[in-house]
Structure formats: C-alpha cells, structure tokens
C-alpha cells in the first residue's frame, strides 16, 4: 500500500473532464487499485461517477492510496498527474 496527500489547487476541482482523465489513469495500472479519500468518503478512483460525486474542489485535501501491482510507480504517476492537472 502506498499513499499520498494532495491539496487541490485547480479552481474547478475534480469535475467531469479531470475525473475522466483520472479514472482512465487509475484503470491503467495493472494489478493496482487506486482509492481516493475526501474527508470520510473513500471511492475507487477508477469509478468516474463516484469520483465526480465527491465534488472535490479547490482547497480540498484528498488522500490517494494505491493497493497492489507496482504501487511505487503508480503512486508516482498519480502524483505527477495531480500536480500537473489539479
């Protein structure tokens, strides 16, 4: 298990398009499941609808957790994605 925290800076937050890209990315790691936690709610990052439903906005802190597969590489890729896009 590998996890990191990130505070959203994009004013729109994780909405449809970023959520779509994130879900796609989350699905791409073989053998790994990516979870995203905001407050007390945790969803699979690969589930677009659930992800959107969190309503993550600028200033929210989210926790991203990777379980299984190449956790190191996946977490690194995700971290890069968040920094570049969110």
């Amino acid at each position: 298990m590998k996890e990191f925290k990130y505070t959203i800076t994009d004013p729109i937050g994780i909405h449809a398009r970023p959520a779509g890209v994130l879900a796609k990315l989350a699905k791409s790691f073989e053998g790994a499941t990516v979870f995203l936690t905001k407050g007390e709610t945790t969803v699979k990052a690969s589930q677009l609808m659930k992800l959107m439903n969190l309503g993550v906005k600028a200033g929210d802190e989210v926790t991203i957790r990777v379980e299984g597969g190449d956790e190191e590489a996946a977490a690194a890729a995700l971290e890069t994605f968040f920094k570049e896009n969110l």
Partner: protein, 635 residues
C-alpha cells in the same frame, strides 16, 4: 422582447422563394418543417439571420427551421397566411408513423383518438344517467314520474342522444377536416326528419312518427327503387358517424387541392357535404341497418340456450361498439310480454359489468395519471350500466381489457342462463339492475363472476404501454417530489451496446463524440458516446435508472442504468465555469428516474452568452466494459 411573428414569417417566405416554392408546411413542437420544391431558391445564409430563427438544417428532404416552443405555432400560422400554403397536419406525420401498424390496430387507435377528447362529456352524462335512471326504478319513490326526473334525465341523456354530433366534430378534428362541416354531418345523421335511431325496431313509434300503419320505415326514392334512403336516424351510433366523417375529410382535402381557389369557398364545402350525406345515407346507412336486423335476429336465437347466452355475453360489447345494442330492448319487451321474465337483462348486465371490471383494473393498475383519471370514473359509469365511456375511452383503446371484458361477460352470461333468473323490467343493468331482478343473490353471483374474471384477466395480462408519439404524459407521483415530472419518452436511440439502449436525452442533431468541440470528450477519455446540438432546453433520463451523481455546478448528471451502464450527461462544454447560472437540476443523488423524466433544465441563451458551445455531451462512461458499443448519429 416579443418576436414579431408576422415579420418572421414574411422573411422566411421571402428567403425560400415564396409560397409557390413550398410543397408542404407543418410544424412540430420547436421546428417549422417545410418541403421545398426548388432548393436553389432557398437563401440559407439569410434564413439563419432571420430574427426568430434559431437554427436550420435539412433532414429527410425537409427544410427544418428551429423556432422554439410556443413560438413556432404562431410563426407557422402567420407563415400559412402569408404564403397561402395549405397547412400540412401533424396527422400526416402521425399517419406515416402509424402506417406500420396492422390495420385493426390503426382502427382501434383512431376510435380512441376520436373518443378521448369527448370523454368529459360522456363520462359526466353516463354517471348522471346511471344515477337518475336507477333512482327512477326504485319502487314507491315516485321519482320516475316527477318533473325533477324529466329535467335531470334530459340533461343526462343529452350527450348520448346527440352523440353523433360530438363524435363527428371530434372525428373531423382527428381526420383533419373542417370541424364545422363535421358538425353538419353529425347533425344530419340525427336530423328530426328521420326516425330516432333508438326506435327503428319499435313498430308503434314508426307508425306514429310517419303516420303509417305497417310499421315499416318509409324511404325516399331518389332514383326509383335503385337509390333509396331509409328515413331513420343514427342516435346512439358511433361507427357510421366516424366512417361518414372520414369520407367527408378525405373528400374535403381532395377538393381543396383540386378546386381553383376562386371558387373553393363555395364549391368545396357544398360538394363535401352533399356527397358525404349521399354516401352516408345511401351506402353506409343501409349496411348498418342490415347488420342491426341480423344482430337482432341472431340475438333472439342465441339467448334460447345457455351456450348461446354465453356467446351473446361475449359479443355484446362488440355490438355496443357497432352501435347495434339499441334494439335489444325490443327483445326484452318481447320476453316480458311473453313470460313476464326478462332473461336478456342478466346477459347484458354480465357483459356490462365485465367491462366495468376490466376498466377498473386498468384504472387501478395504470400509472399514467391521465389514463387513471379517465378510467376510474368511466368504470363507475359502467357499473351503473352505461359502458360507452369505459369501452371507447379505455378498454378498446388498450384492447386487452376489452377482450378480458368479453371473456368475463361470456362466463357471467353462461352462469346467468344456467341459473335461469331474469328481470321484471328493462332499461337498467349493472348495479341499478338490482331494482328489477327476480333473484338478487343469483344476480350478485353473476356480476361477481363477470366483473371478477374481467378484472383479474386485465390485471394479470394487460401491461401499460408507453404511448408512441411522445405526447407529454404525466408520470406517477414520485415520492417526496412536489410536482409530477412531465415524462416525454425520447424516440431516438443514440448509443446501444450489449447491455441495452441509451436514448437521446434531448432532441437535436446527434453527432459522434469525436466531433464534440473539446479534446477530452472527443478523445473518448470519459467514454464513448454522442454530442447533441440541442433544440430544447430539458435534459431527460436516457433510460430507467438511478441518479449517481449531480454536479454541484448543475450542468452535468450521471445516471446508472440497466447492467450497471453509467451515462454522463454534460450540458455544454466548459459550462462548469458558469457555476450553475442558467441551470436547474430537477433530481438529486440516489433518485430513481424513469426514461424521459426531466433531469436538468438549461438556458441555451445563457450558455451562448457565456461563450460556450451548448452541445449536450452524452457518454457511456464505462463503454470499455461492454461489447459492441455503437453510436447512432444523424450524419
């Protein structure tokens, strides 16, 4: 800023080469649909700039101008008056759509279309008539002889006595003819120069009406004995009236097309009425009077044994449909004179009460509020013995309830014939029938059997269909929601896959997701699907499902449907920046929604003003999970 409809219509006409270049014109809820003779005369650029025209495109040989709900009809009316083009009716479009159905279904649908608008009149009258006549039969009350009875009975039976007029007006509307000419045909069929249709088998009435002694209805000999018209009216008839008006409307439309405009106003109506009157009274009339004679003779034979009674119980509602049931009182009167016992009445009662049972089952089962509000009072009226509202307004329209009623009526009649009881008078059936029956207990058994069987059969075998044609219908009230959402079932399937079909959430031009003016959507990162350039401002559920996500900025909604399909409907591109301004969300997370239920209302002007494309992005977000995902676009 109200639109100048006249000016809009004139500018449209000017830019399509005038009225002479228009083959036909019609409109739907939002668009003016024109069929153009010579497309080279159409100035598309100028058309798009006409104030009031929000967009235009060509489809299926039609030039469609998007004008908008509530406006398009007014522009259309002006357009018709500006250009002198004959208005095409929506019926033409409907007829084209309906033409695929088998003929008997089309006929049933037509009868239903004619009857539904007149139901308020006949439901009210049916209930009143049932009550008034029941009161009149109560022994010792003396109500039957009172002035109040005479007054109330007159009010109550008006709609039935003059039913042909009401039917004719409604039929003229359905068939697209002039409704006033329709009224003339209806009035003609019950003209006071003719013997009342209720009395055609009543020798006494014939003799006194015509001043004859042989009980034969006199004829007008137009061409010797070759062409004659029997002088009897069509009171209580339905089918001959619909046929007559159908002929009338066809004729009228044909004449309008072929008669030179200068003389159209007097030639067309004159010819229409005269020819229709002649055809109706000479051809249609005699066919029905022949049928009446046969039915009467057949009925007399049938009721002599239980099996025949059973058949009669089944056929009875069919004779009501044909308007042939009015002579049955002749049989009843004959029975009373002969043996003092009217054994016909239990058969009629069983048949009627079965229609009540079927109609009640529809009323209790149906979710469509409009149908429910028709079916419940219609069933009450049928319980009182007046079955027209139930038969025409409900059971026949859905057909299965009608058949269920026939079966119930058949079994009830069989039981009644075996039990052998009867009535001591005639004229009432159903619940008021208790006042005249010789054995109330046996009567109860018969009614329970007939009504019960029809109710049960309808309940188990009839399923509510969503009506085609997307007329707005009310859905069953959703829990907690204050207003009932108006469901309009979309016709177009935009995405289909192994898991099912996804309908278009809005009306408009459908393009592939790859053509959506946004990279993320176009690349299919959020899944495959379509974009729809909207012609309306309501997003509707693309299937039955559960709301899985509503965007805080109100511009997008996710719905989980059959087989876990997840559809994202995203109104406009980059509209998240509008922070909900111009959007109204009608559902919330976790809501169960029905296909066609409104989800989001949006304001296209505001989206455009904010500088965003208003395309409604509709994506199957988990399209990777399904095989053979195909999208249907308008290209």
């Amino acid at each position: 800023m109200a639109l100048d409809y006249r000016k809009c219509a004139e500018e449209i006409a000017a830019n399509i080469g005038g009225g002479a270049n228009v083959i036909s014109a019609a409109h739907c809820a939002t668009r003016l649909r024109l069929v153009i003779a010579d497309n080279s005369k159409v100035n598309k650029k100028a058309l798009e700039n006409v104030d009031g025209v929000k967009g235009m495109f060509e489809s299926n040989g039609q030039l469609q101008l998007i004008i908008g709900t509530g406006t398009v009809n007014k522009v259309f009316d002006e357009f018709i008056s500006v250009t002198g083009v004959q208005a095409g009716t929506k019926d033409d479009v409907k007829a084209a759509a309906a033409a695929k159905q088998p003929i008997w279904k089309q006929m049933l649908k037509t009868i239903g279309d004619v009857f539904v608008p007149i139901l308020p009149a006949i439901v009210a009258s049916g209930l009143m008539m049932g009550l008034v006549e029941a009161l009149a039969k109560i022994p010792g009350l003396g109500f039957g002889g009172s002035d109040w009875f005479a007054f109330l009975d007159t009010v109550a039976n008006t709609a039935f006595a003059y039913l042909p007029v009401i039917v004719a007006v409604s039929a003229a509307r359905v068939f697209g003819g002039n409704i006033f000419l329709g009224a003339v045909i209806g009035l003609l069929m019950i003209h006071s120069a003719f013997l009342n249709g209720w009395n055609v088998a009543n020798t006494e009435a014939i003799n006194s009406f015509f001043g004859v002694t042989d009980g034969i209805i006199p004829k007008w000999h137009l061409i010797g004995n070759l062409v004659t018209i029997q002088r009897s009216g069509y009171q209580g008839h339905v089918i001959p009236v619909i046929i007559a008006v159908f002929i009338m409307c066809k004729l009228e439309k044909w004449l309008h097309k072929h008669v030179p405009e200068m003389i159209d106003l007097f030639v067309t109506p004159l010819t229409t009425v005269l020819v229709t009157a002649f055809a109706t009274l000479w051809i249609v009339g005699p066919i029905f009077s022949m049928l009446e004679t046969w039915v009467l003779a057949g009925a007399k034979i049938l009721v002599r044994n239980p099996l025949g009674a059973c058949a009669m119980g089944a056929l009875y509602p069919a004779t009501v449909v044909m308007g042939l049931h009015h002579m049955y009182n002749v049989i009843e009167a004959g029975m009373l004179a002969e043996s003092g016992l009217n054994t016909w009445m239990p058969i009629a009662s069983a048949a009627n009460f079965a229609q009540f049972g079927a109609c009640l089952a529809v009323g209790l089962k149906v979710r469509n509020q409009k149908t429910k509000s028709v079916a419940i009072p219609s069933s009450l009226s049928a319980a009182l013995g007046i079955t027209e509202p139930a038969i025409f307004g409900v059971n026949m329209r859905f057909f299965k309830p009608f058949v269920a009623g026939m079966i119930g009526g058949a079994v009830g009649s069989l039981v009644a014939a075996i039990l052998g009881f009867g009535a001591t008078a005639y004229g009432v059936t159903g619940i008021p029938g208790y006042l005249t029956v010789s054995n109330p207990l046996q009567y109860t058994i018969v009614l329970a059997i007939a009504g019960g069987i029809a109710f049960a059969l309808t309940w188990f075998f009839w399923k509510e269909e969503t009506e085609e044609g997307a007329e707005p219908v009310k859905a069953a009230p959703a829990p907690e929601v204050k207003a009932e959402p108006e469901i309009v079932v979309p016709e177009k399937t935009v995405i289909s896959c192994s898991a099912g079909e996804i309908k278009a959430p809005v009306k408009g031009k459908v393009v592939s997701y790859t053509e959506i003016p946004d990279e993320t959507f176009a690349q299919g990162i959020l899944g495959e699907g379509v974009g729809i350039w909207p012609e309306e401002e309501v997003v509707r559920a693309p299937y039955d499902g559960t709301i899985s996500s509503v965007a805080e900025s109100k511009h997008a909604v996710g719905i989980t449907g059959p087989e876990d399909m997840e559809v994202l409907i995203h109104v406009g591109v980059d509209t998240v920046n509008m922070n909900g301004d111009g959007f109204e969300v009608l559902v919330k997370d976790g809501d169960e929604v029905k296909l066609g239920q409104p989800l989001i209302k949006f304001d296209r002007q505001k989206i455009k003003a904010a500088g965003h494309p208003d395309i409604v992005v509709t994506l199957l977000t988990n399209s990777d999970d399904y095989e053979d995902v195909t999208i249907n676009t308008d290209n």
